[in-house]
Symmetry: C2
Subunit: 505 residues, 2 copies
């Protein structure tokens, strides 16, 4: 039994953490391996683990230790000159987590869980029938619970700020409005210009790519990017995801013989998440110092590898010959420029998850604006479809023919996950800002890519982002690493530099 209070706290935090990793593995197994009729049993196992994990995270001993460690006398011990010292970070973030666990009454937690389960089925049903009115009461109830949750946590009526802060510590609706307004002003003209360009990626040029060869190729690519397959693996599931922590990261992908780029880029995206998790300090596993800094930062890592790195001409100078070697007959008739244009195809679509990286941000701006209005009381749930369609026309130039391609397309709201969507766009902005920062210190970085070497970039991300864990809130981390406040101008510059030469020549 560790005698020191801090060590006792860390031991307690690790118990909750490892229970979380066990639940995570069971969740992964459910998507990857579970026999079809074993779902009920898995639900029993996960319910029990959730109960034990909650008990471990809400352990009153954690509360007592936190009060002891929060005593100002302890703070004198820490070195404040070079940012928050390790112990102070752990105590601060453990307090954040602990309060979120213990300030919510057990009945509230189970009410929200029950609602989410019912709302998920109602949403799936409503989407199939394109019938928003069947889902509306569940969304109303989720909004009301989200307000209640914020109140329990001491956020008063700033419920949307609380929802955002849960995903990206320190972020607010006001700050997002400011960032997204500037982004929109630059993005809409770019999208319009590309839309009126005669340049179009050729359709149907990829046919009959054997799955086994696709698997080998994406393993080579993600391995060269730096994913450590001795501490992780990639398998197949219906939707790609990345799960796990510490020394065991499980990624998934899916295969389509006629769409090898989908599998490749979704794997690179998940590998970006995986690289972040693999780069978190293993020695601090189970404490906030060994945990990621939030959704936006996480997404910045997946997007940076997926977009800035892997849609880059230098990346393809190295990998195109290897790609052709794996699929000689399939790629025989595909010109080099057509391949690169396919990698960087831009075309508006109604569906967020099918969107290219230019339009993607507009899908997020739309959702943020609607969430903001809902929480501000400016928009009633029943008016949501009309508001969605109007914004869709304004931002994307497309009106959904039915709600299943519009307001009902995403699963997130059925789980009450408000404040989640903005993280995706935040991730894109952070990725671009990091990209131009690293190019300042490593101006010849892309010549590495041409040799298939991504280690300098990964090393820089390791030091500046990964190894920081939860040391800083999102905006503070960006400020420290890039020397500037977070701004959308780098994302706009990146998109301009990537897509203007292709579409606006």
């Amino acid at each position: 039994m560790p005698a020191d209070s801090y060590e006792r706290l860390v031991a307690k935090l690790k118990r909750a953490h490892y229970l979380g990793t066990v639940a995570g593995l069971l969740g992964w197994d459910e998507q990857v391996n579970l026999p079809p009729d074993s779902a009920d049993q898995r639900a029993e196992q996960l319910a029990l683990l959730a109960e034990l994990q909650h008990a471990a995270a809400a352990d009153p001993e954690i509360g007592r230790l936190l009060i002891e460690l929060e005593n100002p006398v302890c703070h004198l011990l820490s070195d404040k000159l070079s940012g928050p010292a390790d112990r102070e970070v752990v105590v601060r973030e453990a307090r954040r987590d602990y309060d979120r666990v213990v300030k919510l009454p057990a009945e509230f937690v189970s009410e929200k869980a029950r609602l989410s389960s019912a709302a998920y089925h109602a949403w799936a049903d409503a989407k199939a029938k394109s019938d928003f009115t069947a889902f509306a009461p569940f969304l109303e109830k989720h909004l009301s619970l989200a307000r209640q949750e914020a109140a329990y946590l001491g956020w008063g009526d700033r419920a949307y700020d609380y929802a955002i802060d849960k995903h990206d510590p320190g972020m607010t609706a006001a700050k997002l409005t400011e960032l997204f307004t500037e982004l929109k002003a630059g993005l809409v003209p770019l999208v319009r210009a590309i839309a009126s360009s005669p340049v179009r990626a050729k359709e149907g040029i990829f046919k009959g790519f054997p799955v086994e060869a696709q698997r080998e190729f994406l393993r080579e690519v993600t391995g060269r990017l730096g994913f450590n397959y001795r501490r992780g693996r990639i398998d197949v599931s219906l939707h790609p995801f990345c799960e796990g922590a510490g020394a065991d990261i499980r990624m998934t992908t899916r295969f389509d013989a006629d769409n090898p780029l989908d599998s490749l880029f979704s794997s690179i995206h998940e590998a970006g998440h995986g690289l972040y998790e693999q780069g978190l300090p293993l020695a601090a596993q189970g404490t906030p110092l060994g945990q990621n800094a939030g959704m936006g930062v996480h997404e910045s890592q997946s997007r940076l590898w997926e977009n800035q790195v892997s849609r880059n001409r230098a990346f393809w100078r190295f990998f195109e010959p290897r790609f052709r070697e794996k699929f000689p007959s399939q790629l025989a008739g595909v010109a080099s420029d057509d391949l690169y244009l396919a990698v960087n195809e831009v075309a508006p679509t109604l569906i967020r998850v099918d969107s290219d990286e230019v339009h993607y941000n507009l899908h997020i701006l739309l959702r943020f604006e609607l969430e903001r209005r809902l929480f501000a009381g400016e928009l009633a749930v029943r008016d949501l479809p009309a508001a969605w369609n109007a914004l869709s026309e304004e931002l994307l130039g497309l009106v959904p023919p039915a709600d299943k391609q519009g307001v009902l397309q995403d699963v997130h709201w059925s789980g009450g996950a408000f404040g989640y969507f903005p993280s995706y766009c935040l991730g894109n902005m952070i990725a671009a800002q990091l990209w131009f920062t690293v190019l300042k210190v490593q101006p010849d970085l892309e010549t590495d890519f041409e040799k298939g070497d991504f280690s300098r970039l990964l090393g820089w991300l390791r030091t500046n982002i990964h190894e920081q864990g939860r040391r800083y809130e999102t905006l503070e981390l960006v400020r420290r690493v890039t020397g500037e406040e977070l701004t959308p101008k780098y994302l706009l510059r990146y998109l301009q530099e990537r897509y203007a030469p292709l579409y606006l020549k």
Copy 2:
């Protein structure tokens, strides 16, 4: 919260059970999926689960509920006419489990765990060097702990009986001695006769069987035997095993392109274990009524499907054409009789796990005799290699050239798993006795096999064995199902009828 004491007990038992299934899944994943450098993290997860599982199984509330439910007044409620009623079984077996958990001091449990870990490494090392003296002190210590454990549990100096009872409830060393003496008397002449037969299975007739086609064939076979792949799966690991409970059974196998029968028969063996687990009453999952009756009964199920069923001529009348269809060129030069003789090859070997089903029992008789003498104080650990070699010569006609092919070949003793080996032979005896019992009520059973239909046999096993859970101790179960005391005469008769026509014609 269930108000009834019995329901509260069941809820408590289920918690420990589901934690066990989670640990089981992590163990399966470790053998099948775990990235090479993730082992430390898995060890942390398993240690935490073991602690939580122990706490759940040793929950003092279980003790209080058991005392309440063991009160004779409660027993009046149960129907004693047709065997023990459900509640009575659950309370009786929960008491057996609970005592085993709480009567052992925590320090004893961790001392045994530490010793097992050190002894495992010492054994692996000693085996590599064929140096028994390096392993001997660990075996001494394990013997001493086994005596101590029996004393804690109230077995006095009947330490070997306790070790046997842990694996096969109700079984004793005296009973095993009686059974094995009779078995040996019949088996040795049969083995001698086969050894002097000029008939020999041809060697090296299987070459280049592609793994994917092997996988398809064994899935067809195990599926037709009745394994429900909607509630289980088969994967690849270094050593085949079967893990899981209830609705999620994970089997593994291994592949060798030049030895398709090894993979096929080990898969059928594991499927036999899997069929038993899938046949336990799912509604009683987590209670003793939903658990298997012990090691010997479990092994009887794997052996029955592996030997009585799948080495049967009727089985091969159905599957041989299918086997040839999958591997037309590989089997083109293999005559039908040679294939069937290869399936039923008998040849002595020093290594238990490589043994055919005739010699296998002699390997067990040897180990039982040595364990019995060790516990009786008739044999010192230092004299074990010489005693092993003498018995090996007597029973198998072979003397190990070095201890790694003799006394050091098995992992079991390094974990202190005394009393485990006899279950294998017990399983063979039970399997044969069940086989002749079912043939009495279904005399034309083998004509089903010729049509690839195994459902009548499975149905009989479901009703008579699987659905009984832990209702009866091993010998009582055999008595009730077969109408006779357990006897080795059916195993001897089965081996005679199977192998005399092949080798002694």
